[in-house]
């Protein structure tokens, strides 16, 4: 009975945290795109009120089942990602394979974003879907190899162990390439900032183009939630997890997650969206080899340190 | 969950995949049939491993099956693209005609 209660409060906490992270990301993004502070904070609730009242608009011969299913599945992916993050020493979803699960969840985003584009049976949606997959192939491999680095250094795929293995020197400090590649991947699977081409304004918002009402709300919210969730997972991976002076560990995790979310969203909001073919080549030919090199360096350090 | 039930499910997957691989005309659908068959094989091997001899070597075999699956898919897609460019066709029947 006590177990069930604990699980329920844990789940409620994860939901709340996802919500707060998404709101932080959206507000910070809005500030970066030139809104004033108060306006930016109120932007999310205002959009929520507007979209909830909006009438649902359908396209001709849309694959409604897959379209809706995919749109509404993005937010749960973000929630599950947040649930993987160990707050003190254990996460809501513990397990020895946290890193691999995080990777699997971000792969699920592939399927859902493509379906959001495809399902609407509209040209811009389809073009957005194509763009997303081309971009996803390019950002995913650096992201995967970036995930290898902290796991290799800690000798474990368990996020709690990875967080605990970082002493005073956080992995972000001595694995900068992996950290950057990871954050770029986060922007990729939240389709924001420089990697926003699949939902780019120049293609009438691509995969988002035909969404309306509550469907549009959940997908738009999910983009910010995914950014926040990705940043939260970076805390145990690269930012020392619960380590920090004075405050309790859980507070440090939350604080780091919120700060990283705000910073990442701000940078993303400041940068223009890059055209896909401008991104794909450097991601494959520059970033991927660099990240593999980073893994090699980490491997050598681990072997030498034994 | 016993070895028998796992194998039963695995053979069901294999049979469905076999039906698809034999009956479909479009190359990509044939490959989906093959994929289902490999999923059946994977499940059966997993069952054997867990219920007969759970030592690491069995897992290595599963990993190899998984790798074979990716090789099959990648090469299959490449051949399908090549066929399509050469003949403008994606049907297995037409590929045979090309051969004749």
């Amino acid at each position: 009975m006590a177990e069930a209660l604990e699980a329920t409060t844990g789940a409620a906490g994860v939901l709340l945290l996802t919500f707060v992270l998404a709101w932080t990301a959206s507000a910070s993004y809005a500030v970066a795109t030139g809104r004033s502070g108060g306006d930016a904070v109120l932007h999310a609730p205002r959009e929520m009120a507007r979209l909830l009242r909006q009438r649902r608009r359908d396209t001709i011969s849309a694959d409604r089942l897959l379209w809706r299913l995919a749109g509404w599945s993005l937010l749960p992916v973000a929630v599950l990602l947040v649930a993987l993050v160990p707050l003190e020493d254990a996460a809501l979803l513990t397990g020895s394979l946290g890193v691999v699960w995080a990777n699997t969840l971000d792969i699920l985003v592939w399927a859902f974003v493509w379906l959001v584009g495809w399902g609407a049976n509209s040209v811009v949606g389809l073009v957005g879907g194509y763009r997303f997959l081309a971009l996803a192939l390019a950002y995913e491999l650096p992201l995967m190899f970036a995930l290898v680095a902290p796991a290799l250094a800690a000798g474990s795929l368990d996020l709690a162990v990875v967080a605990g293995a970082q002493g005073s020197l956080w992995y972000a400090a001595w694995m900068p390439v992996a950290f950057v590649a990871y954050l770029l991947g986060v922007l990729g699977f939240s389709v924001l900032g420089p990697l926003a081409a699949p939902a780019g304004r120049e293609s009438a918002e691509g995969v988002l183009a035909e969404l309306s009402g509550p469907d549009a709300l959940v997908v738009r919210a999910a983009r910010y939630a995914l950014l926040g969730a990705g940043a939260a997972v970076a805390v145990p991976l690269f930012l020392g997890g619960a380590s920090g002076p004075w405050l309790p560990g859980a507070v440090w995790v939350l604080l780091k997650a919120l700060l990283l979310t705000a910073a990442l969203a701000w940078v993303a909001g400041r940068l223009p969206a890059l055209r896909v073919h401008r991104l794909v080549e450097p991601l494959w030919t520059v970033l991927l080899p660099l990240v593999v090199l980073q893994d090699l360096v980490v491997g050598i350090v681990v072997v030498a340190g034994r | 969950m016993t070895l028998e039930t796992v194998l039963l499910v695995a053979s069901a997957l294999l049979a469905v995949g076999l039906y698809g691989a034999l009956s479909q005309q479009v190359v990509v659908m044939v490959m989906m049939g093959l994929e289902l068959m490999i999923a059946g094989v994977l499940l059966a091997l997993g069952g054997f491993w867990w219920f007969l001899s759970p030592d690491p070597s069995g897992q290595v075999l599963l990993l190899v099956v998984l790798a074979a699956m990716t090789v099959e898919m990648a090469t299959g897609f490449a051949v399908a693209t090549l066929l399509h460019r050469r003949a403008g066709s994606d049907m297995t029947d037409m590929a045979t005609e090309l051969h004749e």
């Binding site: 699997t104 | 990993l63 049907m91």
Partner: protein, 202 residues
């Protein structure tokens, strides 16, 4: 998710059974749906769901790493597969339902015979008792096996994968880097190759 795999198998046998049958049902039902639904997008994603359920069944047999990797790889692959479906299917079956099968009955016959043969084999063969027990950390044991006793396997798989990438690109691409950057590879790359500019260069 991964908590399931750490549940002790003795105390909650019932729960694992239920989970297994749920996975099995989803895996087979979605597998059948692949060849039933009209829409190619639905077919690919039914296959993805079937694979996720297969991965779930593997998780229940404590093969957490392989289970997760099956889910990861297959969802990725199906997302890409959907694009191939769009590229290759002559018309859009999502909007214009039609049947694209040949020797339908024979295929069903072969499938049923296979299922009966394999299924009866699975039930009737007197399987031996289990030898040994799984190591406490299956993932670590697998990693050690790959990197120590079975290193040769990985050393073969690696080059095969690289060869696959090269073969795949060579077979499927019609444009080469000479098309993009001129005969001496010294011109700015044309991406996307504007139609007329390409013709001019030829």
């Amino acid at each position: 998710m991964s908590t399931v795999s750490t549940v002790s198998t003795v105390s909650t046998m019932g729960l694992v059974d239920v989970a297994f049958w749920a996975c099995a049902l989803v895996a087979v039902a979605m597998g059948v749906l692949v060849f039933v639904v009209d829409s190619m997008a639905r077919a690919t994603y039914a296959l993805a769901a079937s694979f996720v359920a297969t991965g779930g069944a593997l998780l229940l047999m404590q093969q957490s790493y392989l289970g997760v990797v099956v889910v990861l790889m297959m969802v990725m692959e199906m997302a890409v597969m959907a694009v191939y479906m769009v590229m290759f299917m002559g018309m859009n079956p999502a909007l214009m339902p039609m049947s694209m099968v040949h020797s339908h009955r024979a295929a069903i016959g072969v499938a049923v015979v296979t299922f009966v043969a394999l299924g009866s084999g699975a039930v009737l063969v007197p399987w031996p008792e289990r030898r040994g027990s799984p190591s406490p950390d299956v993932t670590e044991a697998l990693g050690t096996a790959i990197m120590e006793s079975h290193m040769l396997v990985m050393m073969v798989v690696g080059p095969v994968m690289v060869a696959t990438i090269v073969v795949g690109v060579l077979l499927s691409s019609s444009r080469t880097r000479y098309d993009r950057m001129g005969d001496d590879l010294d011109q700015p790359a044309l991406d996307p190759p504007a139609l007329e500019r390409r013709e001019e260069r030829r």
